[in-house]
């Protein structure tokens, strides 16, 4: 299940979208998600579909790889569809037992399914074409205005990138601790919920102690390398907009305006 989530997994390729500035991609993804909630009718549906197909084609990420991300939300998707299908009042098509399917319900369910699916696909284009580091960099810079509101933007993005580095290490460590306790006869599987929760103690205590130790060590190592917050820091890979970014901004703005226009005019 965890392995199926493609959000947050980078797919290395050399495409126009890969080369865009992460801020551009963040903005475009946001506009696209907004457009999914704004669009109405068949013309709007055609517009969002066309945009998605275009983005997928440009990203050079295999479609099959992208669709894998949908598995993770399959349950949510089905529940939403069922709710819309059966609980929307309107003109009845079929009725059996206490359930009623209406025309409106069918339409709502269809559009809701489209919205959710496109939302996942659209945002996974962002994460599949942007490395986690670029993403945090992009967020840091895009959110910089919030610094004035005393939001510690630099610290938050530093925390995110450190978390990204340490997640695989801690997963590996969990595995090692589990094996060490299994070797002492620990049982993580059988028993009722309370017993299971109790059996996690021998796993969680060493894991927390180790995580705190690592955090301590890391803080010291960062200090030793002259880290003192975001002030006066330079960047090895500073973010700079290129011509393609301007084009991408204009395109996404045009697209969004188009979707709104379709809604207002039709």
């Amino acid at each position: 299940m965890l392995r199926d989530i493609t959000i947050g997994q980078y797919y290395p390729a050399d495409s126009v979208i890969h080369r865009l500035d992460p801020r551009t991609k963040l903005m475009a993804a946001m506009l696209y998600i907004l457009s999914l909630f704004v669009f109405q009718g068949w013309a709007g549906f055609a517009a969002v579909t066309l945009a998605l197909v275009l983005m997928i084609a440009l990203s050079k990420v295999p479609f099959g790889y992208m669709v894998r991300g949908l598995k993770a939300i399959a349950v949510i998707l089905i529940i939403t569809i069922l709710f819309n299908l059966f609980l929307t009042p309107g003109e009845t098509i079929v009725e059996f037992w206490k359930l009623r399917i209406t025309w409106e319900g069918l339409k709502n369910a269809g559009f809701m399914a489209v919205r959710l699916t496109y939302l996942i696909l659209g945002s996974s284009i962002l994460t599949l074409t942007t490395t986690p580091n670029q993403l945090t960099d992009g967020m840091e810079k895009a959110l910089k205005p919030f610094n004035k509101l005393h939001v510690p933007v630099h610290e938050i993005s530093m925390m995110m990138s450190i978390a990204l580095r340490f997640i695989p290490i801690l997963i590996e460590e969990t595995d090692k601790i589990m094996k060490a306790q299994l070797a002492r006869g620990a049982d993580f599987e059988s028993g009722n919920l309370i017993k299971k929760a109790k059996s996690m103690v021998p796993l969680l205590v060493p894991l927390f102690i180790s995580a705190f130790r690592r955090a301590n060590d890391l803080a010291m190592a960062m200090e030793a390398r002259c880290y003192h917050g975001g002030d006066g820091r330079t960047k090895m890979k500073p973010l700079r907009y290129k011509k393609a970014d301007i084009a991408a901004y204009l395109l996404s703005a045009g697209y969004f305006a188009g979707v709104i226009a379709l809604k207002v005019l039709l």
């Binding site: 460590e173 090692k176 601790i177 094996k179 060490a180 306790q181 299994l182 070797a183 002492r184 006869g185 620990a186 049982d187 103690v201 021998p202 205590v205 060493p206 102690i209 180790s210 130790r213």
Partner: protein
């Protein structure tokens, strides 16, 4: 009593881009009461091998027999096997979790279904046998030094009264005295109780000093298997795969090349000293 491995293979992440053949056709017989050293690089398969011996890892193919019983049999109690083949991992920090040392060491026997009293009795014996002074027993395991933590970790496994004790690099990160103390303690367990010991180590000097039989792993296969003297006689093959014999063994070769007739293959300091004394007597 014995452990037999019959054509054991283990493949990580089978049929993916990350596929690694970690164990290749391993045939091995470990007799009761042996003191075995396992050496090899990081990634040579030695850690994978020892985790098969107590059933923590399941071979992709091949069979493992403990005392003549197939441990992969459906009705074989593999949880019980872990109590009989005790495995102490490299970092004690991965297993210490209780508030007191004594409670931590009781964890294993309690898992075996023993009563509190029985479990504590076993913890008592185990802590005694690793030589940790009694005034430490009710302290937190997290306040101990590296060497003491390792003793507690070993006691935590010994408390299950295993017939075989496997130690994965028990001396990593310890200072010289700490290292000697741990290894002497392990050797004592072997001598006094005739316990089968399998010691995984990076140090040629340590294995040469303590073990009776040495297994060299390389790229998932057993490359050499014999007494330390027999194994280190192949020092050129060891070097070819990036391992080395103890400095002492090289010294003996150098001396012979220069015409000093030192007898035999020395792998430890005492043997070398004897050999040199003999050569000079003539």
């Amino acid at each position: 009593m014995s452990i037999i491995l019959d054509k054991v293979n283990y493949v990580y992440s089978e049929k993916t881009a990350y596929e690694i053949h970690a164990l290749k056709n391993i045939n091995l017989k470990i007799e009761d009461g042996e003191f075995i050293g396992v050496i090899g690089h990081t990634g040579s398969g030695k850690s994978t091998l020892i985790q098969h011996l107590n059933g923590l890892m399941h071979a992709t193919s091949g069979g493992i027999y403990y005392n003549g019983q197939d441990i992969y049999d459906e009705d074989y109690d593999r949880k019980k096997l872990r109590g009989r083949v005790g495995l102490v991992f490299q970092y004690p920090e991965h297993q210490l979790f209780e508030t007191t040392i004594f409670a931590d060491v009781s964890f294993g026997p309690k898992n075996q279904g023993l009563s509190k009293k029985e479990a504590e009795l076993k913890a008592f014996t185990a802590l005694r046998s690793v030589g940790l002074p009694e005034d430490y027993w009710y302290r937190s395991p997290f306040e101990l030094s590296g060497g003491q933590k390792r003793r507690v970790a070993i006691a935590g496994v010994l408390a299950m009264e295993p017939e075989v004790l496997i130690l994965d690099e028990p001396t990593a990160g310890l200072d010289p005295r700490g290292r000697d103390e741990i290894l002497d303690q392990v050797a004592k367990l072997h001598e006094e109780r005739n316990m089968t010991i399998i010691l995984v180590s990076h140090s040629m000097e340590d294995v040469a000093k303590y073990v009776e039989r040495l297994i060299v792993m390389n790229q998932g296969s057993i490359m050499l298997d014999g007494t330390p003297g027999e194994v280190f006689a192949h020092y050129q093959e060891l070097e070819a795969v990036g391992l080395a014999a103890p400095q002492i063994t090289y010294l003996m070769h150098d001396l012979r090349k220069r015409g000093i007739q030192v007898p035999g293959i020395a792998t430890t300091l005492e043997e070398a000293k004897e050999a040199i004394l003999q050569a000079f007597k003539k």
